[in-house]
């Protein structure tokens, strides 16, 4: 007997929650408890009174699993709303990365050139290193980090994806 794998698709969910102790563990733990995947998860409070946080979760799974993930999130008491941005239509996904590259000579010049092409900003520089700040869709960052590997990448930090629907309506 062998274990079968199913075809998966990627979805980005925007979840509004009460900003209370343990909420992140509740959400993240629900994913592990039910065997769902988290590609990335970001969270920060977004309301003037700090009462509400927005969690952006990039997840993947077969369509029936995505449907369950949304229903399971929605039944948690501190969860106010769950929006499947992938399902809802056009939306913007952005991620920020800080990328440290060390080296001298041709590598250093090439790193700078590539950063320019990718519109990465230099936020720290020494004679033998740069820290670049880059924002963009996750695959753009992925590509940039891949290129930096060839010219002296020493460290990278990524925020994980945040996303918002296009047009005037709110989630």
């Amino acid at each position: 007997m062998h274990i079968k794998e199913e075809q998966v698709e990627r979805h980005v969910l925007a979840v509004l929650v009460d900003n209370e102790a343990g909420i992140l563990a509740r959400i993240a733990g629900m994913f592990t408890a039910r065997g769902y995947n988290i590609e990335s998860l970001t969270v920060a409070d977004i309301s003037a009174d700090h009462a509400i946080s927005r969690i952006t979760i990039a997840t993947n799974g077969p369509p029936h699993v995505i449907e369950q993930i949304i229903a399971q999130l929605d039944r948690l008491v501190p969860v106010h709303s769950v929006r499947d941005l992938t399902e809802a239509g056009p939306h913007v996904q952005r991620e920020l990365a800080l990328v440290k590259v060390a080296g001298k000579g041709e590598n250093r010049i090439e790193a700078m050139r590539l950063a320019d092409v990718y519109r990465a900003r230099v936020v720290d520089a020494t004679t033998e290193s740069f820290v670049f700040e880059i924002t963009g869709a996750p695959d753009k960052i992925q590509t940039f980090v891949g290129l930096m590997r060839e010219v002296g990448l020493v460290e990278v930090g990524r925020t994980g994806v945040v996303a918002i629907g296009r047009g005037p309506d709110s989630a």
């Binding site: 007997m1 009460d18 102790a21 343990g22 563990a25 509740r26 733990g29 629900m30 408890a33 029936h64 449907e67 369950q68 229903a71 399971q72 929605d74 039944r75 948690l76 008491v77 501190p78 106010h80």
Partner: protein
């Protein structure tokens, strides 16, 4: 406003919320609460002998009364011992509030004596949980906890209270109810969906009502509404294990329980129906059997208050989110409004009649041994006129009870369905007896399961509870042995209950009456003696050791592949079947 201690606020809030019974066990981290209880005899505290039993007793109380069960235990081992019962309540949607003591806030995280991360441990086995860090928050949190436990799909809520929060003071006046709760589940069904459901019902030629524990949870009125709906439709009715009693077993429309140990007619009707109306059930794996062969030709309507139950395992054509009792009322109104006159489903009923003719619950007779099925039937015959409350443990005896004990009313059948917790029955019977003091309460048990919470004999003695235990004793963990017979070529690995106690002496040592039933000829007299003896009684009924529970859908099979008799058993299974449920 006057200041009160956290413990005093807690007890006062419980009183305001109408709590009259608490199941618990004291310990270091709840001493302030126990001290406050000392001044409030209006709250009856039932001292159990193990925290797991406190949770099951609270479940039994909740199921028999419809009110939330309340548990009070200490930190660390008190809380961890309660986890099984909390999980049980989550799986079976039982309203319960569990108050746990915790070490003082300044000690949390220091690996203090009897410290456990209770909110962490119970996060995924509760509907919701809290750690209360200020006494001023207590009344609000408790009020919301009861609201969450009882509204929507019921479930357990844990409130973890550090010891210093119990001692510290805060201003308090009696609570004025919960305002604008953030938790507002949808109760009424969507009008469009109800109309669509009515449309589907009106077009069906072979409909079946598949009912579940949601109807019991919705309250006695929902069972009444189900009866009206079934009468209007004239369709057959089947139920999950959890829903037994919502529809009277004496009705002509009743097919019996469905699923793994359900009746042949219920499972065949599910398989051949053209419309399945699922009312407060959740297409559990014990119900569906092999998913790709489950009711393949039917349209499916699913009424559930929990949206996450919809399309979880079986895809349905029409979900209706709402309280099942309320949705049935709406559906009745729409059907009546449309002057729905049910056809007599002549062909459908004639097929059902054919399946019924297999007499699938028949069992072999024996002159020398008591057949366990016969023991249950005799117990039913002797007691059913008194509408007894039946609790069970988990295993063969549980399935035999579900098959052979007929229920007419809701809240009379208390069993651990989702989690399948051995040791559930005795504490649940204690809780049920406290909730309904005049009822005849019988725990139908197995000799293995009963030992998992046997210490609760003392609790029943202490509170003079006339609970009856009827042990169907076959000296095996019978369901394990049955699966080993069916799946593992009768290699009975560790399923024999060796070194059993003398249950009669054991009962007597706790102040119970013990009755041994050893011979078929003693069965009826023994049962009569059990009913007629005042106070708690334990019956040790020795039954045929190797009897199996049939009918049965074997692992990985469909509804149409039921094993009806021992002769159908092949003795081996392939790996795919072994790996399934």
């Amino acid at each position: 406003m006057a200041e009160k201690s956290g413990a005093e606020i807690l007890v006062q809030t419980l009183l305001d919320l109408g709590v009259d019974t608490v199941f618990g066990y004291p310990g270091g981290a709840v001493l302030p609460i126990y001290d406050a209880l000392y001044d409030h005899p209006k709250i009856k505290h039932i001292l159990v002998r193990h925290e797991q039993a406190a949770t099951h007793a609270a479940e039994g109380y909740a199921r028999a009364t419809g009110k939330p069960g309340v548990v009070l235990v200490t930190s660390g081992p008190g809380a961890t011992n309660a986890v099984t019962g909390i999980t049980d309540a989550l799986m079976d949607s039982i309203p319960m509030v569990v108050i746990t003591g915790q070490v003082a806030t300044n000690l949390i995280g220091s690996d203090a004596f009897q410290e456990a991360d209770t909110v962490g441990i119970t996060r995924h086995c509760t509907k919701h949980n809290y750690l209360v860090k200020q006494p001023s928050e207590l009344a609000g949190v408790l009020t919301e906890a009861f609201h969450i436990a009882t509204q929507g799909r019921p479930g357990p809520v844990v409130v973890d209270i550090p010891k210093n929060v119990q001692v510290a003071a805060a201003e308090f006046s009696s609570h004025n109810g919960l305002k604008n709760s953030r938790y507002q589940p949808q109760v009424d069904g969507d009008f469009k969906a109800i109309n669509e459901a009515a449309e589907m019902i009106m077009q069906a030629k072979a409909p079946i009502l598949y009912t579940g524990g949601g109807i019991i949870n919705s309250g006695p009125k929902a069972s009444e509404t189900l009866r009206q709906l079934a009468e209007l439709l004239g369709a057959p009715v089947t139920s999950t294990l959890m829903g037994l009693g919502a529809f009277p077993a004496s009705s002509d429309q009743w097919l019996g329980m469905l699923g793994m140990h359900g009746t042949y007619e219920a499972n065949m009707a599910m398989n051949r129906a053209d419309l399945v109306v699922c009312l407060g059930a959740r297409f559990d794996d014990r119900i569906t059997g092999r998913l790709d062969a489950f009711s393949p030709n039917s349209k499916k309507i699913h009424v559930d208050i929990d949206r996450s139950s919809v399309n979880k395992t079986v895809r349905v054509d029409l979900p209706v989110i709402g309280d099942v009792g309320r949705v049935m009322e709406q559906l009745l109104a729409v059907l009546k409004g449309r002057k729905f006159n049910a056809p007599d489903y002549e062909e459908w009923w004639s097929r059902i009649k054919g399946w019924r003719a297999t007499d699938c619950l028949a069992f072999p007779e024996s002159k020398t041994e008591i057949m366990p099925q016969l023991a249950i039937r005799k117990l039913w015959e002797a007691t059913h006129e008194r509408d007894p409350i039946i609790t069970t443990e988990v295993g063969q005896h549980q399935m035999w009870a579900a098959q052979h004990f007929d229920f007419e009313k809701p809240n009379k059948w208390l069993t651990s369905g989702g989690l399948g917790t051995m040791g559930y029955g005795l504490p649940a019977a204690i809780g049920a007896q406290l909730g309904d003091p005049d009822a005849l309460v019988i725990d139908i048990a197995g000799e293995a399961s009963i030992q998992m919470n046997i210490q609760e004999l003392a609790t029943a003695s202490q509170y003079r509870l006339p609970v009856k235990i009827f042990i169907v004793n076959n000296e095996y963990m019978g369901m394990v042995r049955q699966w080993q017979e069916l799946t593992y070529e009768s290699r009975y690995s560790n399923s024999y209950s060796d070194s059993l106690p003398d249950f009669i002496k054991l009962a007597e040592s706790y102040g119970w009456t013990g009755i041994l039933i050893d011979e078929p000829a003693e069965l009826e007299a023994g049962i009569t003696k059990m009913i007629e003896t005042d106070g708690p009684v334990l019956v040790d009924c020795r039954v045929a050791k190797l009897a199996n529970c049939f009918p049965m859908i074997p692992s990985g099979a469909s509804h149409t592949e039921m094993l009806l008799t021992p002769e159908d058993v092949k003795g081996t299974m392939d790996d795919n079947a072994k790996a399934l449920v």
